[in-house]
C-alpha cells in the first residue's frame, strides 16, 4: 500500500526541499510538510481497515538484500498506527512551537526536524528488523544535533551523554536481535529478518536460558530509551538542555520507542523469560515512580522537574506492560499516547515561559497567572491531565495500568506475576505526582507576581499569541476526548493487545504450577500476602 511509503518519504522530501531553499522559507515549508504528513496519516488511518483486529495494515515490501532475508517491509498494526498518528500530530505543533524560538541556522533546524519525523515513523512502520534498527538508531542523529546546536548552556555535555548512553543501549539490544536472527538461521538454514517470523521462532524455539539472555539484552536497550531506573540519568540532562521542540519530540515520541520496543519485541519474543523477570522489572518501575517523583519535589528548574516527571510517569507504563493482562497492556498503550499529549504540552508551556523570561528557575518566577492568564489556564489544565484527574486522559491510562498490575496476582482472575503490593506502592506515585506538580503550579502560576526583568518579553506579547494557542488547543481537545471517550482508542487497539497476550495465560499458569510444585517461590513478588 502506498500510504505507508508516503508517510515515510514525505518528511524526508520536505527536508531536502528545506535544505535547498532559503532560510526565510524554511519554516513555512517545514510547516506545510508536517501538515501534509499529518494529512497523509489521517488518510492512512481511514484507509487502514484493520482497526480493532490484531492484523497489520498498510503492508508493503521491497526486496533489499533478499539473500540474507533483509527487506524493506513496512506495515502497522493498530498500536503502531496510533503512535504514527501521535507523531504526525506532534510534528506540526513542534514546528509552530519553534516559530520564534529558533532564530539562527533555520534550514538545518527544520531539516533535522523533518528527518527525525521520518525516522520515528519508520520505527513504527518497520516490519523488518534491520529496517527497524536503522530507523531506531537514526532518531539519535537529528536529536543529537538539535540539542548540540540549539540547546541551552549545558548542551555540550547533554548531547554527548544522550547520544552515547542511548547508542550503547541500542547496541546491546542489537546483540540480542542478532542472536535471535543467527539462531533462526542456524535452525532453519536460511536467514530472515522479518519481525513476525523472528518473534514466532524465538517464542517457540528458544530455551528459557536463551530467552532470558535475549530479554536482558533487549530490555537494557529499551530501558535506556524509556528510561527506566537506574539508566535514566541522561534524560533530565537532555530534556533540560534541548530546545522546546526537541523536548516535545523526546518526551512525546522518542521515549515511547522504548515502551513500543517492549510491546513489539520483548513481549512476543521471550514470553517465558518475561514471566520470570516481570516482577523484577516491575520493582524497577516502582522504584522509578517513587524515586523520580520525590526528586521532582526538590527541583527548582521547571524543565528538569517535568523531565524527571517523565521518568516517574513512564514507570506506570512499564508496570502496565508487564502486568501481562488486557487491562494493563491497554493502559500502557494508552499511557504512551496520553503521556505524549500532556507532557508534550507541558514542555511547550515551559518553553513559552522561557521564551519570555529566559529563565526556568522556579524561585525567580511567580504568580504568572496575573500576567498571562491564558498561559496559566493551559498550564493548570495540562498539569491536571498529568496528575491524572478523572475526566482527562491521564486518569484512564493510569487507572488501567494500576488495576492491571493489581489484578496480576496469582490469585487474581487473570494470572499474572505482580499483584496488590506492586499496585499499592506504585499508587503512592499518584500522591507524589500531585505534590510536585501542584507545588510547581503554586510557585510559578499562583502567588504574588514575580518576574525577572525582561526587555519587552523578548518581542512576544505578554500573554500567549494566537499561534501559541493554536499549538495547545489540539492537545487540550485530545486530552478531554481521550478522557471522556477513551474507548475510541481502546476499541481500536484491543485486537493487537490480545494478540500480543494470547500466549501468556498458559505460560503464567505453567510457571505458577512449577512454583507450586517446587514448593519454593521463584515468583516471590507475585505471591499474595
Amino acid at each position: 500500500m502506498i500510504w505507508g511509503w508516503i508517510l515515510l518519504l514525505l518528511p524526508i522530501a520536505g527536508g531536502l526541499v528545506v535544505v535547498g531553499s532559503s532560510a526565510r522559507a524554511a519554516k513555512s515549508i517545514a510547516l506545510l510538510t508536517t501538515l501534509a504528513t499529518f494529512g497523509a496519516s489521517i488518510a492512512a488511518a481511514i484507509e487502514f481497515d484493520v482497526w480493532g483486529t490484531g492484523d497489520f495494515g498498510l503492508v508493503s515490501s521491497i526486496p533489499w538484500l533478499p539473500e540474507v532475508g533483509i527487506n524493506l517491509s513496512i506495515g502497522a498494526d493498530s498500536v503502531a498506527m496510533m503512535l504514527v498518528l501521535l507523531t504526525t500530530l506532534l510534528m506540526p505543533l513542534a514546528v509552530l512551537g519553534s516559530w520564534t524560538a529558533v532564530g539562527e541556522r533555520l534550514k538545518e533546524y527544520y531539516g533535522w526536524l523533518l528527518l527525525i519525523e521520518s525516522a520515528m515513523i519508520g520505527v513504527f512502520l518497520a516490519r523488518d528488523l534491520v529496517f527497524f534498527y536503522i530507523c531506531f538508531e537514526f532518531t539519535l542523529v537529528p536529536m543529537y544535533f538539535l540539542i548540540a546546536i540549539y540547546g541551552g548552556s549545558g548542551r555540550a555535555r547533554a548531547c554527548v551523554k544522550f547520544f552515547l548512553y542511548t547508542f550503547t543501549g541500542s547496541l546491546i539490544a542489537l546483540v540480542g536481535f542478532l542472536f535471535v536472527a543467527w539462531s533462526y538461521a542456524e535452525t532453519t538454514g536460511s536467514w530472515s529478518f522479518q519481525i513476525a517470523t523472528l518473534c514466532e521462532y524465538a517464542s517457540e524455539s528458544l530455551t528459557l536460558r536463551e530467552q532470558v539472555w535475549v530479554l536482558t539484552a533487549l530490555v537494557i536497550g529499551f530501558a535506556v530509551k524509556i528510561p527506566l531506573f537506574p539508566v535514566h540519568t541522561w534524560l533530565p540532562l537532555a530534556h533540560t538542555e534541548a530546545p522546546t521542540a526537541g523536548s516535545v519530540i523526546l518526551a512525546g515520541v522518542l521515549l515511547k520507542l522504548g515502551t513500543y520496543g517492549i510491546f513489539r519485541f520483548v513481549l512476543p519474543m521471550t514470553p517465558e523469560a518475561v514471566v520470570e523477570w516481570a516482577p523484577v522489572l516491575g520493582i524497577l518501575a516502582i522504584i522509578g515512580i517513587l524515586y523520580a517523583g520525590l526528586i521532582c519535589w526538590v527541583q527548582t528548574d521547571v524543565k528538569k522537574l517535568v523531565a524527571y516527571s517523565s521518568v516517574s510517569h513512564l514507570g506506570f507504563c512499564v508496570l502496565g506492560l508487564f502486568a501481562l493482562n488486557p487491562m494493563g497492556l491497554q493502559g500502557a498503550v494508552l499511557y504512551m499516547i496520553n503521556h505524549g499529549l500532556s507532557t508534550g504540552a507541558l514542555f511547550f508551556l515551559v518553553g513559552m515561559m522561557y521564551e519570555r523570561y529566559h529563565t526556568r528557575d522556579m524561585n525567580a518566577i511567580g504568580g504568572l497567572a496575573k500576567r498571562m492568564p491564558v498561559w496559566a489556564f493551559f498550564m493548570v489544565f495540562f498539569v491536571l491531565a498529568s496528575v491524572g484527574l478523572p475526566g482527562l486522559n491521564g486518569f484512564v491510562s493510569e487507572f488501567l495500568c494500576l488495576i492491571g498490575t493489581f489484578a496480576a496476582g496469582d490469585s487474581g482472575s487473570y494470572p499474572g506475576v505482580m499483584g496488590p503490593w506492586f499496585a499499592a506502592f506504585a499508587a503512592l506515585g499518584m500522591v507524589i505526582a500531585a505534590m510536585y506538580l501542584l507545588i510547581m503550579v503554586g510557585k510559578i502560576v499562583f502567588g504574588s507576581l514575580k518576574e525577572p526583568a525582561t526587555d519587552d518579553h523578548h518581542g512576544l506579547p505578554a500573554d500567549l499569541s494566537a499561534r501559541e494557542i493554536t499549538v495547545l488547543v489540539p492537545l487540550a481537545v485530545l486530552c478531554v476526548l481521550l478522557g471522556v471517550q477513551p474507548w475510541i482508542a481502546m476499541d481500536a487497539m484491543v485486537g493487537s493487545v490480545n494478540e500480543t497476550l494470547a500466549a501468556y495465560p498458559e505460560i503464567v499458569k505453567d510457571a505458577m504450577q512449577q512454583v507450586a510444585d517446587a514448593g519454593s517461590s521463584v515468583l516471590s513478588g507475585g505471591v499474595n500476602p
Binding site: Y165, E210, L384, P390, P420, Q485
Partner: protein, 747 residues
C-alpha cells in the same frame, strides 16, 4: 471525515448504551433494579452545571464585566434542583439505572476475567435522591447569595468563581448519582479539584495557595485509599457497579474465591477515602485551612455538601463494612474522637469562621460515629440537618466578613443585632447556633439524638464510653457555639473593621468613618430561606411515609431504608437476618431485636433518656456561654488569666489554641524527613548513579584507549569513537559467548 466518523461512533455508542446497561454478557441485574430510559432527562441534572461552566468560560473569553455569570449559574443550578425534585416525585420506589454515555468498557475475549465496565450511568435510589436534592437546592441558594457577596470582584475573578462553582456541582452530581465506583471516583476527585480551585480563588495570597495545595494533597491521600478499594472490590467481586455488587454480595457467590484478606481490607481503604474527604483524623487538617476560600465556598463545599461525601461513600458501600464489622468499630471511634478533638480546638479559636470550620469537623465526627454504631439513618439525618444549619452559620459569617471589611475576630465584634440592617443576619445566626448546639426541638437536636442513642444501644468495644464522650462533646459544642453568638450578636454595640478593602471606596479601613455595609436583598433572602430550612429540617423526623413498616425516624429513615445503606437501620429484623446469613461471624447489632428491647439509661428508654440528657447538656453549655460571654464578660478574661498563670494547666489552652500541634507534628514526622530524603535521592542520582556509575563506566574505554594511543583531537569525537569501540568489543564478546554457550547447550 475521520472526525465525523468518530462522532458517529460516539453517538452510536451513546444510543447503544441504552442497552449497554445489559451488555451481551447478561450480568445479573437484581430483580428490583430497573433501567429507566424514560428518565433520560435526569441527565440534565449533570449536564446543566456543565453547560453553566461552558457559558462561564465564554463569559471569561468575552471579558463580561456584569453579573451575568452569576445569573447563568443560578439558573442552571435551579434547573438541576427542579429536575431533582421531579425525579424524586417520579421515583417508583425501586432503584433505577439511567444510562447516559459509555466510558470504559473492557471485555476479555479469552474469558479469563469478568470484564471491567464503568459508564456514565445514574443509579437512582432514595439515598442518592436525598443527597442530590439538598446538594442542588443549597447549591442554587448559595450561588444566588454569592452573586452579591462576590460583587466586589466583578470584572476580576467573578466569572472564575462561578465557573468553579459549576465544576463543583457537576462533580458532586456525578459523585452522588454514579452507578459505579469509577464514576464516583471521577466525582470524588472532581469535587477535590473544584475545592482546590475555589480555596485558591484569591490566588495572589500565599496562604490561599498553600491551603488549596494542602487540601488537594490531603484529599489525594484519601483518593489513594478509594483507588485501592476499587481495585480490591473489582478483583474480589468482579464488578464495580452497585447493583451487581449488591447482588453478588447477597448471593454469597464470592465466597468460592474468598481467600481471607480482601474482604477485611476493603472497608479500611474506603475508610481512608472517607476520612480524607470528610476531614477526620488523621486527615482533617486541611479543612480549617480551607477557610481561606471565599465564604460561600466554605458554606457550600466545606460545610454543607462536599465534606459529607465521605458519609455518602460509607453509606453507599455499607455492605462492605457489614461484611467486616470490626471496621465499623474503628469508624465509630475515629468519629467520636475527631468530634471531641475538633470541639476542644474550636473552644480556643477567635476567628469565627475557623470556629465554624472546627465545628464542621466535629459534626462530621458525629456522623461517622453514627455510621459506626449502625445508625446510617442517624448519620444521614445529621448530614441533612447539618447541611442547613451549618450553611446558614457560614453565610452569616460571610455577611459579617463582607460588611466589616474582613473582620472575623469575635473579640472585635459585638452587639450586631442592635445595628440597623443586621437583624436578619443575627437571627439567622441564632437559629443556626441553636440547631448546632442541639437545643431542644431544633433539627440538630433530633438528628444528634438519633446518633447518641444508638451509641448506647449498639454493642461494641467501649461504645458506651463513646456515647458519654459524645455527650460531653455536645456540651462543648453548645458552649463554643453560643460563645460566638453572644460575643458577636449580643451585648453592646462595638466593632472594629478588618484590614481588607473590598475595593469600594466608601469605607477606607481603620478610618473613623467606617460604616459596616449591611447585606442586601440576595444575601438576606438566602440567609432567611436557609435559616427557615434549618428550622424546618426537624419536620421530616415526624413524617412517616411508610408507617406500615414501623420505622422510627420519619422521612429520612424511609429514604435510607430503600438504599444500599439499609443495613444500618433500626428495627429492621427482616434485613438483619439476611445480613446475618452473609456475615459468617455475624455482627452484634440490634437489628435482630424487632421488639425494641433497648437497654435503659437512668430507668428510661435510651431514646427518651437521650432527649432529656442532651437537652440538659445543651442548656448547660448555653448557660455557661451566656455567663462568660454575655452577662459577665470580665469573668471570661479572669478565667483566661487564671488558666495562663498556673503552669499545671497553662499548657491546655495553649495546646488547644495551637490545634494540639498536629500540623507541626505532621511537618516534623512526615514532611521534613521526606524532604530530606528527596534531597538525598537527588544527590544520589547526580553524584552516584550519574557521576560515579555512568560517567565512570563511560570513562573506562577512553582510559583503555589512552594507554594504546594518546588522542589529541576534539573531545567529543574521541569520546564517541572510544565509547563505540568499547561497546562493540563488549558486543563481540557477548556474541562469542552466546555462540559457545548455545553450542554447548545444544550438545
Amino acid at each position: 471525515m475521520i472526525l465525523s466518523s468518530i462522532i458517529q461512533r460516539i453517538v452510536l455508542a451513546t444510543v447503544e448504551s441504552g442497552g449497554l446497561a445489559q451488555p451481551e454478557t447478561e450480568p445479573v441485574i437484581s430483580s428490583d433494579v430497573v433501567v429507566a430510559t424514560h428518565h433520560w432527562w435526569a441527565g440534565f441534572i449533570l449536564y446543566l452545571p456543565l453547560i453553566s461552566l461552558i457559558l462561564c468560560g465564554l463569559c471569561a473569553a468575552m471579558k463580561v464585566k456584569s453579573k451575568l455569570p452569576a445569573w447563568i449559574t443560578t439558573v442552571c443550578l435551579l434547573g438541576s434542583f427542579v429536575l431533582s425534585l421531579l425525579l424524586y416525585f417520579d421515583y417508583g420506589g425501586s432503584p433505577e439505572l439511567i444510562p447516559l454515555l459509555s466510558w470504559i468498557n473492557l471485555a476479555d475475549p479469552g474469558g479469563n476475567f469478568s470484564g471491567l465496565s464503568a459508564n456514565f450511568t445514574f443509579y437512582i435510589d432514595s439515598l442518592s435522591l436525598l443527597w442530590i436534592m439538598f446538594v442542588t437546592g443549597l447549591g442554587t441558594l448559595i450561588t444566588f447569595y454569592a452573586s452579591e457577596y462576590m460583587e466586589s470582584d466583578l470584572g476580576k475573578g467573578y466569572t472564575r468563581f462561578f465557573a468553579g462553582v459549576s465544576v463543583f456541582l457537576f462533580a458532586m452530581v456525578a459523585l452522588v448519582l454514579a452507578d459505579n465506583l469509577l464514576m464516583l471516583y471521577l466525582g470524588w476527585e472532581g469535587v477535590g479539584f473544584a475545592s482546590y480551585w475555589l480555596i485558591g480563588y484569591y490566588y495572589q495570597r500565599p496562604a490561599a495557595v498553600a491551603a488549596a495545595k494542602k487540601a488537594f494533597i490531603m484529599n489525594r491521600i484519601g483518593d489513594l485509599g478509594l483507588a485501592l478499594a476499587i481495585y480490591l472490590i473489582w478483583t474480589t467481586f468482579g464488578t464495580i457497579q452497585y447493583d451487581e455488587l449488591m447482588d453478588v454480595i447477597q448471593s454469597g457467590s464470592w465466597k468460592e474465591s474468598y481467600d481471607g484478606w480482601t474482604i477485611d481490607a476493603i472497608p479500611w481503604f474506603l475508610m481512608l477515602a472517607a476520612f480524607g474527604k470528610s476531614a477526620q483524623i488523621p486527615l482533617y487538617v486541611w479543612l480549617p485551612d480551607a477557610m481561606e476560600g471565599p465564604t460561600p465556598v466554605s458554606a457550600l463545599i466545606h460545610a454543607a455538601t462536599m465534606v459529607t461525601a465521605g458519609i455518602y461513600l460509607v453509606a453507599r458501600t455499607y455492605e462492605f463494612f457489614l461484611l467486616s464489622p470490626e471496621s465499623l468499630h474503628v469508624v465509630a471511634w475515629v468519629g467520636g474522637v475527631t468530634a471531641l478533638l475538633a470541639a476542644t480546638i474550636g473552644l480556643a479559636q477567635h476567628d469565627i469562621k475557623r470556629i465554624m470550620a472546627y465545628s464542621t469537623v466535629s459534626q462530621l465526627g458525629y456522623m461517622f460515629l453514627g455510621l459506626g454504631v449502625l445508625s446510617t439513618y442517624g448519620a444521614a439525618y445529621h448530614v441533612f440537618t447539618h447541611a442547613f444549619f451549618k450553611a446558614v452559620l457560614f453565610l452569616t459569617c460571610g455577611a459579617i466578613m463582607h460588611g466589616f471589611a474582613g473582620q472575623l475576630d469575635l473579640r472585635k465584634l459585638s452587639g450586631l443585632i442592635r445595628i440597623p440592617g443586621w437583624r436578619i443576619t443575627s437571627i439567622a445566626m441564632l437559629i443556626g447556633c441553636l440547631a448546632l448546639a442541639g437545643f431542644p426541638l431544633t433539627s440538630g437536636y433530633f438528628s444528634k439524638d438519633a446518633i447518641l442513642a444508638e451509641a448506647f444501644i449498639t454493642q461494641g468495644p467501649g461504645f458506651e464510653a463513646l456515647g458519654w464522650m459524645a455527650i460531653f462533646t455536645a456540651f462543648l459544642t453548645a458552649y463554643y457555639t453560643f460563645r460566638v453568638w453572644f460575643r458577636v450578636c449580643a451585648g453592646k454595640v462595638e466593632y472594629e473593621p478588618g484590614d481588607e478593602h473590598h475595593g469600594d471606596d466608601d469605607h477606607g479601613h481603620h478610618s473613623e468613618a467606617f460604616h459596616p455595609h449591611a447585606p442586601r436583598f440576595a444575601m438576606n433572602f438566602v440567609m432567611a430561606v436557609i435559616a427557615i430550612g434549618a428550622l424546618a429540617a426537624s419536620v421530616p423526623y415526624f413524617m412517616d411515609t411508610k408507617a406500615d413498616e414501623a420505622l422510627a425516624g420519619g422521612w429520612v429513615a424511609d429514604m435510607v431504608h430503600d438504599s444500599t445503606a439499609q443495613g444500618g437501620l433500626p428495627g429492621l429484623d427482616r434485613h438483619g437476618q439476611s445480613m446475618g446469613d452473609i456475615v459468617e461471624h455475624g455482627h452484634a447489632g440490634h437489628q435482630g431485636e424487632g421488639d425494641h428491647a433497648h437497654p435503659t439509661l437512668f430507668g428510661m428508654d435510651v431514646h427518651t433518656a437521650m432527649y432529656v440528657i442532651s437537652g440538659v447538656v445543651g442548656g448547660l453549655g448555653l448557660l455557661l456561654a451566656a455567663w462568660l460571654h454575655l452577662f459577665r464578660r470580665q469573668d471570661a478574661d479572669r478565667l483566661k488569666a487564671f488558666l495562663q498563670r498556673h503552669w499545671w494547666i497553662a499548657w491546655l489552652p495553649r495546646a488547644m489554641e495551637h490545634k494540639w500541634y498536629v500540623d507541626e507534628i505532621y511537618q516534623g514526622l512526615i514532611r521534613a524527613p521526606l524532604w530530606i530524603a528527596s534531597h538525598l535521592m537527588y544527590a544520589f542520582d547526580r553524584f552516584l548513579i550519574d557521576g560515579l556509575l555512568v560517567d565512570g563506566i563511560a570513562r573506562i574505554p577512553r582510559m583503555v584507549a589512552r594507554w594504546f594511543q594518546p588522542l589529541h583531537n576534539g573531545i567529543v569525537q574521541s569520546y564517541a569513537v572510544t565509547m563505540a569501540g568499547g561497546v562493540a568489543l563488549i558486543a563481540l564478546l557477548m556474541i562469542l559467548f552466546l555462540q559457545f554457550w548455545k553450542i554447548g547447550g545444544g550438545g
